[in-house]
Symmetry: C2
Subunit: 343 residues, 2 copies
DNA sequence: GTTAGCACTCTCGTTTAACGAGTGCTAATT
DNA sequence: AATTAGCACTCGTTAAACGAGAGTGCTAAC
């Protein structure tokens, strides 16, 4: 257990380091407003904190730097949740300002988030799977090719072109679309393949001649790959951080940022609420000296997606957590508004 | 005018430097297979080439490095166009391998191009304006909101959600869509706004009650912003180039890469055929030590888009030019196939 | 318990020296 | 007359040496 003085000094050190990125020495601390001890006293305290593992030295006679354990303690115990500042109004404004598509909201949110914080933001888009099919349309481009369009109740549109088997007439095609719409409207996207195989398959076999080949095309076109959508903001912000001054780190960081599946998996694994993952707590090597802060957004009880901020371990945790909290709420609300309208 | 020997040595120097990224000295050259002069002779020639501005020294007693003028001469006169290697088969394969959407072809091309070359590729998507409207659909999500979907003859799909004026009934909406489709099918996207204002406006006023407000919505939804699409490949490849070892260059480079309009303008300005822009020939500051190689792809006589490769001035011009040539042809052909089918 | 004082440690920037790669010039060679 | 060998010279790179500065840990005094 830490004494009050230890807590105070730990907090001051971390706050200072977060701002300056420089090891902080006893002299600097003694000059702070709310500190009334001499440098020597502070040195003693710092030595204790180091023994306990909350602080580190970069070399034997340098100032102290927070260890990961220190950061962990800091976010767990030393963060007085503060009422968020103007930034939250900015967020509100962006989210509600005459945007009609959820995708746009998400993209804008990612941008705003990175602009405000100067870190890199990643948002895991709302799971398409959870949304329901509103309508399915096939538009023929030529006798051989057509584009299939799938509209969800959220206003999301997916499309894929495919080629029509030569044996199939256009009336046949139309019949097929009708059956599909009749049977599949309102079905969650996630269930589509299953539903397609059970109910619809037999029906089609009955009414549509030679449907099988085009059916395959359709299935291949839509259900093979359903990549989760990631929205990024401020990808270059990391370059501005002093901890990324050497090129090798930059390389490995950006190489990682291109492995979207990996990132998506990481974000999917997040549980409810705000979660802070510091340094080596991260499983991914390339961000072992970064912190990842995630929050989720919801529809009702159900978790729909994840918002994340990625920065150096020396992050402005207080600001960022408040902000993420706010954004999470705003997005949840925006999502709710959507679904209220679009059942 | 350069003598044969000067030509030979200039070529060898540039070739070597392109490979090693190190200033090349007289000794190294004398060791090359097709060189039969002593280092001293070569030094004399190099001094001449330097006087003429084709070579530079990084400092007074270093080996020589090609100047921009040197590179310019190299690409203009020293590049024996060579038959392309296996890479071209890779390209062919990627482009023709069961892809049905032109966008996909473009995206894949960008990726392949950067993978093969280890540079950054940028492709300016086919101008949406040139394509024609195939069909227009409006799907209502709720009584208040709908999503408008626009399908072009190329299989390209655009969509935008908008809100329905409360006064408008669904039958009214349907009537509107019918009129729009009736009048606008086959019209080039570029002409839509104009056509909308002339022919369709009066017609709508006649048949649809209270159409004006939703008309505004529609127009706003579709025709405000029509950003040109850029496709990137290998954005991180630049980090691997030794000339990008200092972080400031990296910063300014990636900051530039985010200004998509600027890049688009740059690529739009390209004329027909392959064009090489070396170093300071580039207007954009952040790539004053890069070379940009562009090629165009076509539909019939008409230029549709631009393929570009961005790398350090020390680029493998020969390989890259051959490759870009091939890709340009492949894309033109693919585009032609598209349009042949999708008039 | 706190603090002043001091010796000690380590980094950082500067200086110095040695080394090596490469040049330019001159004189000898072909 | 062209080519080349030889040599002095230049400059970047690396390593070692050094002083200054920041900060610590410890001891002794308050």
């Amino acid at each position: 257990m830490l004494t009050g003085r230890q807590l105070l000094i730990l907090q001051v050190i971390i706050d200072d380091f977060i701002q300056t990125a420089q090891p902080v020495g006893s002299r600097v601390i003694s000059k702070k407003e709310d500190i009334s001890f001499s440098p020597a006293t502070i040195r003693n305290v710092m030595a204790d904190l180091e023994d306990m593992g909350y602080l580190e030295k970069t070399h034997s006679s340098s100032g102290r730097v927070p260890s990961e354990k220190g950061y962990r303690f800091y976010v767990d115990n030393l963060l007085s949740p503060q009422i968020a500042p103007d930034d939250i109004n900015v967020i509100k404004h962006v989210i509600q300002d005459g945007i009609f598509e959820f995708e746009q909201i998400v993209q804008k949110s990612a941008e705003v988030l990175s602009d405000i914080t100067n870190y890199t933001s990643i948002i895991l888009g709302p799971e398409v799977f959870e949304t329901k099919l509103k309508q399915l349309q096939i538009v023929t481009l030529t006798p051989q090719t057509a584009v299939c369009i799938l509209i969800t109740n959220t206003g999301h549109v997916e499309h894929r072109a495919f080629s029509i088997p030569t044996e199939m007439s256009s009336s046949e095609l139309e019949k097929m679309v009708n059956i599909l719409n009749d049977r599949l409207q309102g079905v969650p996207i996630l269930r589509l393949p299953e539903k397609l195989n059970t109910e619809v398959l037999s029906l089609m076999r009955m009414y549509v001649n030679d449907f099988e080949k085009s059916f395959d095309y359709l299935k291949a076109a839509f259900f093979n790959e359903h990549p989760v959508k990631l929205y990024f903001g401020g990808k270059t912000n990391m370059l501005m951080q002093p901890e990324f001054k050497d090129i090798d780190k930059v390389r490995s960081f950006y190489t990682m940022m291109e492995r979207e599946e990996e990132i998506a998996d990481m974000l999917k694994a997040t549980t409810d609420g705000i979660k802070v993952t510091i340094g080596h707590e991260n499983k991914v090597d390339a961000i072992k000296d970064c912190s990842l802060i995630t929050a989720t957004y919801h529809l009702g009880e159900e978790q729909m997606g994840t918002i994340a901020l990625l920065g150096p371990t020396r992050m402005e945790y207080k600001k960022v957590i408040t902000l993420l909290n706010a954004l999470s709420n705003e997005m949840t609300e925006a999502l709710y508004m959507w679904y209220k309208n679009n059942d």
